[in-house]
Amino acid sequence: MRNFILFIRRFFNLILFLLLEVICIVLIARTQTVQGDDIMSSANLLIGNMYKQRNDVAYYFALRRMNDSLLRENIELRKRLTAQAETDVIYDSAATVPVSYTDSGKVVKYADYTYRTARVINNSVGNVNNYITLNRGEKDGVKKDMAVISANGAIGRVVNTSAHFATAISVLSKKQQVSAKLKDGTVGYVSWDGKDPSQLMMRDVPTQIKVRKGDTVFTTEYSFFPANIRIGTVYKTTLIKSKNLQVLYLRPTANFRNLQYVYIVENKMSAERRRLEEAAKKDDDK
C-alpha cells in the first residue's frame, strides 16, 4: 500500500495529465456525432449575453448592408406576389381547418410552417464544424431541429436552445449533410469538406444527369428544411469515370461570412412526422 501511495505521488503530474486528456478525448468523441451537440454550447446565458453585447456594437456598422438585403428580399417577395395574382389561383396557405376522414376531397397540406426572425449574434466559417448563435430561445418558441434559413438560402439546423438563445449548426459543417435536389428532381446530399467556406459539394450524382454551370440546387422535403430553399449554384463538375458518377461543386447562395438576420422555420407537422418515421424504423428493426 505504501509503495502504491509513493508511486501515485511520484507520477502524480503524469497521472493528472493523462486524466485531463482522457476527459477531453471523451468530450471530443461524444461531440463528433450529430447527436452530441448539446454537450457544450454557446447557447447559455453568460456566453449568449456576451455575444449579444458584442453584436450590438457591430450591428450599427452592418445597417447599410442589411437595408440593402432587406430591400432585395422585398423585391423578390413582390415579384412572387404579382406572379400569384396574375395566375389567379385561390390558394389557402394557412389551412388549419380540421379535416375529417370522410372528407377525402380536400387537400391537406403536408407541412405548415411558421417563420420567426432572429438575429445572428455569433458566427464562424473557419472551423471544421461551424456554429451560429441566435438571439431567440425557448421563450420565443424555438426548439431543437428547427431549420434556419436566410433570404438567400439554407443556413442550418438548431441544435441547442436555452431560455433566450439558440445555437445552430451551419451547412458548413463536416458532420452534417443536407438532403438536396437538382432542378429535375435528382436527389442527393450536399456536404462540406471543411476547407473553403465558398464551396459545397454534391457527391454521387449519376453521369447521365446533365448538369450545367449555374444550375441551382434546392433543399428537399425529406430533410428538416422546408422544400425548395436554395442551397447553392453549380460552378464546376468533375466526373469519376470508374464509378460512373459526377461530383458537383456549388457556391452557396447564402453568404455565411456576413449573416445578420435569419429566419427560424418551425414545421408544425414535424413532430407527427418524426413519430411516424420512428415507428416505421422500429418495425423494421423487429
Partner: protein
C-alpha cells in the same frame, strides 16, 4: 498587485480578446483557389506561456484545462481546445528546462519574458509550444490524417500568425525600460 490577481486579470483579458475579436478574424494567406486554408489566429495559449516559472505542474494542468474549456464553450468545440492546452501546459516545464541556462527554481517570482530569457530562447519557447498546440488542435479538429498536406499547411500558416501576434502582445504589454523586469499586465 499579487501574481495571482495579475494572472486572473490576464486570463480574462486574453479570453475576451480571443473570443470577441480574434474569433471574428478569419484569415487566409492567399485566397486563390487551391491556396492556403482559412484559419483563426489563436492568442489564448499565451496565458499558459506567461504563468510564473515556479507554478507547479498540477496547477498548470488545471489552468490549461480551465482556459481550454472556456474557449471551447464559446466556440462549441467541446474538449478540443482543452486537449491542446493541457498538452502544452504539461510540456511547458520540459521546454523551459531545456532552454534556460540556470535551474528553474532560481527564477523565483519571475515570469517568462524576453528580459530574463533573451530574444532567441523566448521565441523558440513560444513557437515550439504554439506549434505543438496548433498541431494537436487542428489534428483533433480535422479528426483524420488522410489530408496531411492540407493539415500541415494549416498548422504552419496559423502558428506563424499566432507567434507574430504573441510577440506583438509581448512587445506592447511589457515594460521595456527600467531595472526590474516587470509586467504591466
Amino acid at each position: 498587485m499579487t501574481t495571482l490577481i495579475k494572472n486572473i486579470i490576464r486570463f480574462c483579458v486574453i479570453l475576451l480578446v480571443q473570443v470577441l475579436i480574434l474569433n471574428k478574424v478569419t484569415l487566409q494567406w492567399w485566397a486563390q483557389p487551391g491556396g492556403f486554408p482559412i484559419f483563426i489566429p489563436y492568442l489564448y495559449p499565451l496565458f499558459i506561456l506567461l504563468l510564473p516559472f515556479e507554478t507547479p505542474v498540477a496547477l498548470l494542468l488545471f489552468a490549461g484545462f480551465l482556459c481550454g474549456l472556456s474557449v471551447d464553450s464559446f466556440m462549441n468545440t467541446a474538449g478540443m481546445h482543452a486537449f491542446a492546452t493541457v498538452l502544452i501546459a504539461y510540456f511547458r516545464i520540459n521546454v523551459l528546462n531545456a532552454l534556460l541556462p540556470k535551474n528553474l527554481s532560481e527564477y523565483s517570482g519571475q515570469t517568462p519574458s524576453v528580459k530574463n530569457m533573451g530574444w532567441l530562447p523566448f521565441i523558440v519557447y513560444v513557437s515550439f509550444l504554439v506549434v505543438l498546440h496548433h498541431a494537436a488542435f487542428f489534428t483533433v479538429e480535422l479528426w483524420s490524417i488522410s489530408n496531411i498536406g492540407y493539415l500541415l499547411l494549416k498548422i504552419f500558416a496559423s502558428s506563424a500568425t499566432s507567434v507574430l501576434l504573441i510577440i506583438a502582445y509581448v512587445l506592447l504589454f511589457t515594460r521595456q525600460s527600467g531595472g526590474k523586469s516587470q509586467r504591466i499586465m
